[in-house]
């Protein structure tokens, strides 16, 4: 780590706290060669935000097209490319890594009291892999786009599509390896870099979530990498792996694809669960109810997540019995998910709740994720799924989980840790109203899609002239999308503005509990001036225990334990 190594003599001393990871060096070179997890997190934040707005642009075009039953501007071919771009960008280049690689990267070492991740150069390498992957993917979209959807089902993707499938897949391959390297880094860091006293059950729940996410990443991502690579092999080198005309099995592709892509849903949502636990505990000022249950439910979701992929294939030549087994296991995932929801709700009970902007997002998350999770049960049971497959009901369901869940938690977490990352406080008044705007805009966008999907509107169609009665729902949805777009744009402005005119945030502006709040904001280059020693439990807000500690100290005094002993 020659580029970033800091000798002990260079540690910022007391009274020089103004030297931090942001201002110790201002050159672009120092950013592009950094090994500092905090700077890499910022690099990721900038690049994933850019990617997110590109994906949103595609979403906007979809919503505009669907305001009229006959379509508005896009032709069928173009529409296919637009929704494929939206899916590929949002799934493979935003959702699976935005939370771990930005907030996770920034916070994991801070939360466990480490100076950095275990492998800083690998961390930087993963950002470059991501950038190369994104560049390849975007060049594929520019030089022709893809029309396969983000799912790349064979044999269409491997034999028939005349679009830039290979280029985009190779881009995804790179971004997949970016995820894998981040996952390896997080696993090693969690195992080996914890500060003295930071036991597994003193880990903040965000760390548990990142750990479980990393386990899914390292087990699942290689499978999608090889599966998509086989599609490229078939396209470029004529290796007939999934070719039905030679006896290959195109449904095998779906099995391998969903073996990753269903767990990938948990890659996207588990970090959001972790953030949610942090927000709920810290803004209810109460230890999370049933910490161990929440921690283990995270692991349970990661494990069960690998056994349910078949529920994406109820209508893809699966036998009835396979379908039933997959349906049963899918229902089991609802148990640990519900444990989380109940425990967050129970944490709120008699909590000292502070309705600041991150908490508004957190509360919104509970509602939206509950709707998203419960509608998942409709899709997990074979009977209803046969009716609902490939309708807007599915689209609404996974957007409730991915946007209502992951994006709400991401925004909440970004607001919560923004003062830590930048040292500046944003305008909490605007931020609160923005959280409400996102919540309302989101529901307006996607709730009508449940109804229109239930009525039978198929996904991925660029018109619905056969059923003009769907138009009011689609208009509502498009209106909501406009509000949602505003809700995503505003933070970009007021958070950026806070960098210039925001008041300085102290080391702990929310009065939160956790190692990351014990160092200055922004943190020094090595995170902590000296290695912290952890002596208290996680989320140690409990007023009862604080009272008891006081009582115990008083008792000690009363028993003559006072070393002074003069009274």
């Amino acid at each position: 780590m020659s580029a970033t190594s800091i000798g002990t003599s260079e540690f910022p001393k007391q009274g020089q706290e103004e030297v931090n990871y942001l201002n110790y060096d201002h050159t672009l070179r120092s950013w592009l060669t950094t090994g500092d997890h905090k700077r890499i997190a910022i690099l990721y934040l900038i690049s994933t935000t850019f990617i997110f707005f590109l994906g949103s642009l595609a979403a906007g075009m979809i919503r505009f097209e669907l305001t009229s039953p006959a379509g508005v501007v896009l032709e069928s071919e173009t529409y296919n490319k637009v929704f494929s771009s939206h899916g590929v960008i949002m799934v493979f280049f935003f959702l699976v890594l935005a939370l771990p690689a930005t907030l996770g990267n920034f916070l994991l070492p801070l939360m466990i009291g480490a100076r950095d991740l275990a492998f800083p150069r690998l961390n930087l390498g993963s950002w470059y892999l991501y950038m190369v992957g994104a560049a390849l993917m975007l060049s594929g979209l520019i030089f022709g786009g893809i029309d396969t959807g983000w799912t790349f089902y064979t044999p269409y993707s491997s034999m028939y599509s005349n679009t830039q499938v290979s280029l985009v897949i190779i881009g995804i391959f790179f971004s997949g390896f970016s995820s894998i390297t981040t996952g390896i880094n997080f696993i090693v860091t969690t195992h080996k870099m914890r500060a003295p006293g930071m036991t597994w059950f003193r880990l903040p729940l965000f760390v548990w979530a990142l750990y479980a996410t990393s386990v899914i990443v390292i087990l699942g991502t290689p499978v999608i990498a090889i599966t998509l690579l086989l599609v490229v092999f078939e396209r470029l080198f004529h290796l007939p792996i999934f070719s039905p005309e030679l006896g290959g099995d195109p449904v095998l592709f779906q099995h391998l694809f969903w073996f990753y892509s269903h767990p990938a849903v948990y890659i996207m949502i588990l970090p959001a669960f972790g953030i949610e636990s942090e927000l709920i505990a810290n803004f209810a000022r109460k230890r999370i109810f049933g910490y161990h249950f929440v921690a283990f439910s995270t692991i349970a979701i990661a494990g069960l997540g690998f056994l349910v992929w078949g529920h994406h294939m109820f209508v893809s030549s699966q036998s009835m019995y396979e379908g039933l087994v997959f349906s049963l296991i899918s229902f089991l995932v609802a148990v640990p998910s519900a444990i989380k929801i109940f425990n967050w709700t129970a944490t709120l009970y008699k909590g000292n709740i502070r309705l600041q902007s991150p908490m508004i997002y957190a509360l919104g998350f509970i509602g939206l994720f509950t709707v998203g999770g419960l509608t998942g049960l409709f899709l997990g049971s074979v009977g209803t799924d046969v009716h609902l497959t490939a309708t807007y009901f599915v689209v609404a369901h996974f957007h409730y989980v991915m946007v209502g869940g992951t994006m709400m938690a991401f925004l909440g977490g970004l607001h919560y840790w923004w003062p830590k990352m930048t040292g500046r406080m944003f305008n909490d008044g605007i931020a609160k109203w923005n959280a409400v705007l996102v919540f309302v805009g989101f529901n307006l966008t996607f709730f009508p899609q449940f109804i229109v999907g239930w009525l039978g509107m198929p996904r991925r169609y660029h018109y619905y002239y056969f059923a003009p009665e769907f138009q009011p729902y689609n208009i509502m949805s498009s209106l909501g999308a406009s509000a949602l777009a505003l809700g995503f744009l505003l933070p970009a402005f007021y958070l950026t503005a806070s960098l210039f005119n925001g008041p300085k945030a102290g080391s702990n502006p929310w009065g939160a509990h956790g190692l990351e709040w014990e160092t200055s904001s922004p943190p020094p280059v090595t995170n902590f001036l000296e290695t912290p020693i952890v002596t208290d439990e996680v989320y140690d807000f409990d007023p009862v225990s604080e009272y008891e500690q006081l009582r115990a100290a008083q008792d000690l005094l009363d028993e003559g334990g006072n070393p002074g002993g003069s009274y």
Partner: protein, 243 residues
């Protein structure tokens, strides 16, 4: 494994260790354990990577047992066995390189790494010969794939009757080239890594000479590549005659 050597190393705060220690770690023991956990985690991803391929192979072989058996008759098991021996031997020399690193015998490490790399090149050379004979007989999948069952000799064409579905044979060769090809890519990466390690030893780089763990990491990777071939060889070359 990591715990066994962590204790004595953790206390070895000599000058060399400080130079080889990266700033994020407290001591060399923590650094070594992190390296090893990282490498094993990486190997888990590799197992999943090849696992999907082996799964695909298993499925298709179950579906088309006889065709796969006839198709595999064109592979030369003697060349495959020779390559297996070469790789096993290279794993042995890799172990000796790690052992020499533990004993800090620099010249021995370099010698053993040289032999290991030489074995890797021999392996690739044999692979080239094998691939060439497949290309020569039009057994590379695609529009030019052979339509003549006689290419598989006596088993492909019995009493004037074709015994093999050439489509399924093409599927077999798709898997053959895909799986052995990706394995060969791993061999090539291994040559690069081994050479880089050799250069570090040659230049007396503290990052490898102070402690043997970096050498062991390369060894772990090399053994994994070897192990993949141990599975590929019987699956591709040594099919039993179907009844």
């Amino acid at each position: 494994m990591a715990g066994a050597h962590a204790e004595p190393l953790a206390h070895g705060h000599d000058h060399g260790h400080d130079e080889a220690l990266h700033h994020q770690f407290e001591d060399i023991g923590q650094q070594n354990e992190s390296y090893l956990v990282g490498m094993w985690t990486f190997l888990v991803t590799e197992v999943m990577f090849f696992g999907a391929l082996f799964f695909t192979y298993t499925l298709y072989r179950l579906n088309y047992q006889y065709d796969f058996w006839v198709a595999h008759e064109h592979l030369d098991w003697k060349l495959g066995a020779f390559n297996t021996t070469v790789l096993l031997f290279s794993s042995f020399t890799m172990v000796m390189a790690v052992q020499s690193a533990q004993l800090k015998k620099r010249s021995h490490v370099m010698r053993y790494l040289e032999i290991t790399v030489a074995c890797a090149f021999i392996f690739l050379g044999v692979k080239y010969v094998e691939y060439s004979s497949k290309f020569a007989d039009h057994l590379y999948p695609g529009i030019s794939f052979s339509t003549d069952p006689k290419v598989f000799g006596e088993h492909g064409f019995v009493n004037g009757v074709p015994m093999v579905n050439m489509n399924h044979a093409q599927l077999f060769y798709g898997l053959y080239f895909g799986m052995t090809g990706l394995h060969a890519v791993h061999i090539i990466v291994g040559i690069g890594v081994l050479t880089a390690l050799w250069r570090l030893w040659k230049n007396h780089a503290k990052s490898v000479t102070v402690d043997y763990v970096p050498t062991e990491l390369v060894g772990l990777y090399w053994h994994f590549v070897d192990l993949v071939w141990i599975f590929l060889f019987p699956l591709m070359y040594l099919m039993p005659t179907p009844h």
